[in-house]
Symmetry: C2
Subunit: 357 residues, 2 copies
C-alpha cells in the first residue's frame, strides 16, 4: 500500500507554502498559471489525489465524523465535542478530533489528512489565523470533494454549508441590559480583538444595549485583550491589564466580559482592589463552564449551551450524510441549489448566580 | 477505492461483540476454535486486513500520532494533549485525537480506525471499562502490527510498551504528610473506586503516610465516590455525599481529595456547613487545573505536570518511530528484546495556595 504524497511534502519539495499548493490543486485564480502548472504536474507525478476527482462514493462511507477545532484546552469546545459524541454514538457514528491550534496551515493539513478516507464529513470551528487571512479555499475545496461540512460558533458567510451558531449578539444585549436594569451606571466591557466574529458580535451587542437605553458608550470603558496571548499560562499579564483598567476607571460598577476567564480574573482583581462583588461591581461573563459555577462568588453568565450546539451540529451533518446519493458523482451534488443549507441559531440564556444583584 | 470492512460491521453481521471479533482476529485463546474460524473466514471473505500481515512499512509513514484518551472534558487530558502537540509540531508530526468515552468497545473501534493507515503510533490512556475488564488484547494486537504505543497515566503491566506516569503514590504521600505536619489530627480522604490505578495508588499513598507517622487509618474517614457518575452534570449528588460524610465525621480537620473537582466541591460544602478553610479544615487536591487556581480560597494541590507528561510521551514515541526499521517486517521487530521499553516517572510537587496553613 503505497502512501500518497501529502500537501506538506509537495510544499516542501517545491519550496512554496502549504496554502499555495492547496490553492493550486483546487485551481484557484490567486495562483499564477506557471506555479499552478508546476504544482499540478508534480502532484500528478507523485500520485496526489486531486480534489476534483469524481470518486464513486458508494464504498467510501466510514461512519466517522471529523471534528476540527482551534484548541482543546477550552471548556466550550469540550462541551461541543461531548454533544457531537452523544448524537454520533446514538446514530451509529464515530468521531475523531483534529486540532488546528488556531493555525491556518495546520487547519489545511488536518483537513487534508482526515478527508483522505478517514471521515465522511466535518464539524468544525474556524481557526483565528484563517479568520484573519479570510482565506477559506480549503473549506470550499473539501465541500467540492463531496465531503459536507457543518460549521459552528466561528462561521463565515463565504462558505456555503450548514452552520450552528449561538446568538452572541443577543446574548451580549441581554447581559448588558441586565446590568442596566440592575442600576449600573458605568458598564465596562472586557473583550477580545475584533477579528474573531464572536468577540465582535458580543461587543456589538454591548454597544447596542447601551444605545437602545440612551446611554452613551465610553471607549475608555472597553478593554480589548490580545487573545493571541496564552492567558492560561500568562494569567499575570491578564491580571495586570485588568488592574490598570480598573484603576484608570474607578467608577466602573458593572462589567460584562466576553468569556468566563476574563470575568473570573476580573472578579479576583476587583477583590484585590478592595471591591465587593456584587455590591460595588456586578459582573456577567459569557460561556457557562466550570469556572463560572465554582468561582466565589459564583458567576452570572450568558450560557452558550455548548452541548446543544454539538448535538445540533451532529444531527445536521448526519442528516445530510444520510440524504447524500453516494452513487452520484460529487460534481453533480455541487449543482444542488444552495438555499438548502441551514443556519441554526441557538438562543443564549442568562444564568443568574451571585455576581449580580 | 473500496473500503474494507470494519470490526464493528463484522460483529454486527455475525451477531457477536466487537471484542470477540477483535480477539478472534488476533487468534486469542479465549475464543473457541469454531467461532474463530467463522470470524476469520468472514473477515477474509470481506477483505479485512488481518493483524499479522507483514506489511512493508517503508511507505506507511504518515507522520501522524494518534492520541486516544478516555474523555475530553478533563483539564488533565487537555494539558497532556497540549504537551504532545508542542513536541509533535516541533518534530514535524501531526496529531489526531480519538475518544474512548471510557468504553472498552469504543477504544477498540478507535484503535482499529486510526491504525488502519492514518497514524504511525499511539499515545493513549486506558479507558475505565478496559481497566475493569482487564482485557488488553487490542493494545498487544496493535503493537504486533508494528504500531508502537506509549501509555500515560493509566497504564498496565500486561502491555509491554513505553509508559509515562506520574508518581501518584508519592504525590499522595506528600499531600498527606503535609496535612500531618500542619497538625491535622483527623485526615480524611475522598477518592474513587479502586479499579482505576491512579485512584488506588493515591489511596495507598494516603494510607502509607498515615502508617509511617504512626497514625491509625480510620475507614470511616475514607469516602469512595462512584466515578462512573457524570459528576459535572450531577454535582448535587457529589455535594450531598460529601455533606453526609462531613456531618457523620465532624472531627475532620484535614482533607486530601484525589482530584480537584472533589476538593473544590468539598470546600464549598464545608463553607456551607459553616467551616472556615484553612482554619477549621485544610484541603489538598490532586491535579493542578483551572479550578484549583481560581477557587476561593485557592486550592493547594499536587501538580501532575500534564504538559510535561505529554511532551515526554511524544518524545518517547517519536524516538521509537524514528529508530524503527521500516524495511523489516513487523514479526521480526516483535522479536526484539522487551527490556528496551522505558517507564518514565514524572515527579509530582505540592503547589501551596490558600487552602492549607
Amino acid at each position: 500500500m503505497k502512501r500518497k504524497i501529502t500537501l506538506k511534502q509537495i510544499a516542501k519539495e517545491l519550496d512554496v507554502s502549504v496554502s499555495t499548493v492547496s490553492k493550486a490543486l483546487s485551481d484557484s485564480k490567486e495562483i499564477s498559471e506557471d506555479t499552478k502548472q508546476k504544482i499540478q504536474a508534480f502532484a500528478k507525478l507523485y500520485n496526489y489525489r486531486p480534489n476534483n476527482i469524481a470518486l464513486s462514493l458508494k464504498n467510501r462511507k466510514t461512519k466517522t465524523i471529523g471534528i476540527l477545532i482551534p484548541e482543546i484546552v477550552h471548556h466550550f469546545f469540550s462541551t461541543v465535542i461531548r454533544g457531537i459524541e452523544r448524537v454520533a454514538n446514538r446514530r451509529g457514528y464515530n468521531v475523531i478530533v483534529g486540532l488546528s491550534n488556531e493555525s491556518f496551515t495546520k487547519e489545511i493539513i488536518n483537513m487534508e489528512m482526515l478527508a483522505g478516507g478517514s471521515i465522511d464529513g466535518f464539524i468544525l470551528s474556524i481557526s483565528k489565523e484563517t479568520m484573519l487571512k479570510q482565506d477559506y479555499h480549503h473549506f470550499n475545496a473539501t465541500i467540492d470533494q463531496g465531503i459536507p461540512i457543518v460549521m459552528f460558533d466561528r462561521v463565515v458567510d463565504e462558505v456555503d454549508c450548514d452552520k450552528v451558531i449561538v446568538d452572541d449578539f443577543k446574548g451580549a444585549v441581554k447581559a448588558t441590559e441586565k446590568l442596566i436594569v440592575n442600576k449600573c451606571k458605568n458598564i465596562a466591557l472586557i473583550t477580545t480583538m475584533d477579528y474573531i466574529s464572536v468577540g465582535r458580535l458580543r461587543t456589538q451587542g454591548y454597544l447596542e444595549a447601551l444605545k437602545s437605553n440612551n446611554i452613551e458608550a465610553n471607549p475608555n470603558l472597553i478593554l480589548k485583550i490580545d487573545d493571541t496571548l496564552d492567558v492560561e499560562n500568562h494569567i499575570e499579564v491578564l491580571e495586570n491589564e485588568i488592574e490598570q483598567f480598573f484603576k484608570t476607571n474607578p467608577k466602573i460598577d458593572g462589567l460584562f466580559a466576553v468569556n468566563e476567564l476574563y470575568a473570573v480574573t476580573a472578579m479576583k482583581v476587583a477583590r484585590k482592589l478592595g471591591l465587593s462583588i456584587p455590591e460595588d461591581m456586578q459582573v456577567i461573563g459569557f460561556t457557562d463552564g466550570v469556572l463560572s459555577k465554582h468561582a466565589t462568588p459564583s458567576l452570572t453568565t450568558v450560557s452558550q449551551h455548548g452541548q446543544k450546539i454539538g448535538e445540533q451540529s451532529a444531527n445536521l451533518l448526519i442528516d445530510r450524510l444520510e440524504a447524500m446519493d453516494y452513487d452520484k458523482p460529487s460534481y453533480l451534488a455541487n449543482n444542488e441549489p444552495k438555499k438548502d443549507f441551514i443556519k441554526l441559531v441557538i438562543e443564549t440564556e442568562i444564568i443568574e448566580r451571585e455576581s449580580t444583584k
